[in-house]
Amino acid sequence: MSPIDYVRSEHHDFLDAAQVAMADQQLQLVLGEISNTLGKKNQLAWLELRQSDEVRNRARQIKDATLAHLDLHLQTLEQSINRSGGTVHYADNGKQACQMILEIIQKHGATKIVKSKSMTTEEIHLNDALQQAGISPIETDLGEYIIQLAGHRPSHIVGPSIHLTAKDVADIFSRDSGQTLSDDRNELTNYARNVLRRRFAEAEVGITGANFAIAETGSIILISNEGNIRLTTSLPKVHIAVMGMEKVIPRLSDLPYFLKILPRAATGQKLSVYTSIVNGPRKEDELDGPDEFHLIVLDNGRSEILAGPLRESLFCIRCGACLNVCPIYRNVGGHAYGGVYSGPIGAVLTPLYDGLQKNEHLPQASSLCGACQAACPVKIAIPEMLLKLREKLHDEPHQSNVMEKTAYRLWAFMLRRPWLYRLSTWFATRIVGRWKKKSPWINRLPGKLSGWTESRDFPAPAENSFRDWWQQQETER
């Protein structure tokens, strides 16, 4: 499979895709840059913010306590939004959410839709559903616009198009416009700005995600740097926000803790350029703002996660910090993971949303180094959750590897018989250990075991076993 296929497909073999990614020099450069810049900024941010540990603990507590009574908070949110003139819709799954959004659009006879970046809308495959109904939504986030034109999938939660160079972007824009654009960043950005401004001006419906929702006031919180979210929520007549149900927090006074940590964790900024608190449609005399506001509250498997041991994954505020510090992500990039979410949190979420057996490699592709947990603003114990998924993988009925099973059976057989164990170690040390005297490392294991030594050495058996050495120590006393 060529690299482009992994870039476009949501389902593929992780190991294959990882190999392709690791051989891609251009991608490796970009991934190194992310790790060195954004990864570093995350670490510095926790040092710069006074008592950052305590702030993160408070945010974590708020998430934990809110989930314990999520239904009540959702009801409060609904009442508050109704009071300010908006409408709440509850969608059991992605398909239902797409249907609800389509109904709202068709009720207005709208065809011109603008969207700003939302991982949740990717999760429910909204663009596909709209396209099937003959509606083409325009992505307005620069990175999303680029990959929409290219037909690629996002490769990073925060910067979806970073796998492409400026030259790639120039080619994509040139092809789309019929003009020839240089690879100057400012020229490319200006081109996108002008094209998208026209779309904003004519748009009838604007679709966004939501970083948080405040139950007490019925507010939707939107965080961005480009300004497209503000335009999406100011110009079109109708604003539809799509939100995973775990994003709600109880009070306005809870929000500032999250605002202090999210931008710092994601990009090292003290605050993003634009943070908007949206409270329903515009008030009567206002010149701008939508006439109608809709919030789609999405389940899509979250209630199942809420009820179980991986509940903590619902604390995620989608900042992308874990991606920036993960050694696995650093080597394979976002496309290898498949699914919608990549990096450490993706390795937890994708198996949960998309099926564990189908994504068996993801929980195993981790050294459990814990960098993600250290970087996470709400300190999600991702390594622990990956372990739980590995257990689940093992417990679920699956295709067993006959050789592996036999090897474990032999091992258990030997361990239960101390005389057999002693015989084996005698063989290993006296015969193999002395024969291989020259080097303490074996750099190629024979036959099927050669996979282990493809990228590392295997320790050679010692000349004397520990028991021999111990005996010697005892007799010397």
Partner: protein, 242 residues
Amino acid sequence: MSRESFLKRVREAALRGRSYRVTQDESDRNGVDGDVTMLPGYMGHCDDLCQRMADEVNLVGGQAVVVDDHAAAVIAFVKLLKQYQPKSVFCWQHSLLDQLQITDTLLRMDIEPLNYETLKILPQLKQREMIFSAEMGVTSADFAIAETGTLAVFSGPSQERLTSLVPPVHVAIVQENQILADLYDLFARLENLKSVGLSSNLSLITGPSKTGDIDLKLTTKVHGPGNLHLIIIRDEARRGTL
């Protein structure tokens, strides 16, 4: 009804999930209110709010100046008009801008002022056309935050969202007494404002529009303004003492 079954499912899941809680429930945990200077993460300690505000705005790519009085503010504003030479300027109608006689200044320099009063009588299509061709937007702010160099703008008739968003240049003028030390201070104020009702859009603006989406390098002027100018007017009591 699907709403009832949705909430029922969530209620049951939340109940079962409680055995997987990872923190203690602290019923005395406070949100951000009251004496915010004691809260973890408070970064507002500083001697000179105006200077800190200006420094932070400059750090995020804006351009800020601190002036001593209204007359100096108008001079700074006129300087910007001469620099950008806009043909039309979209303005808020705000008490501070009225005191500074911004509209008169524009008219004297043959620049067309657009605001709520002049626009509201036009059909929406025409309104949008004029706003999109304005070359500068002028606002004050409801609050400013010195910690991060942020402007907090609340929408309402005569305080449009688009003023600080559509024109390529955004000029904001604030008085020292509008500046808060830290983000927490803003939310403490919002606790009080909540009861009267929040406006339909509160936006926190920190610097000009930017992205890192191409080559991970910073590029400004994506969808919002590429230039953000801030004029900070010192309060009378502090003038000349710093």
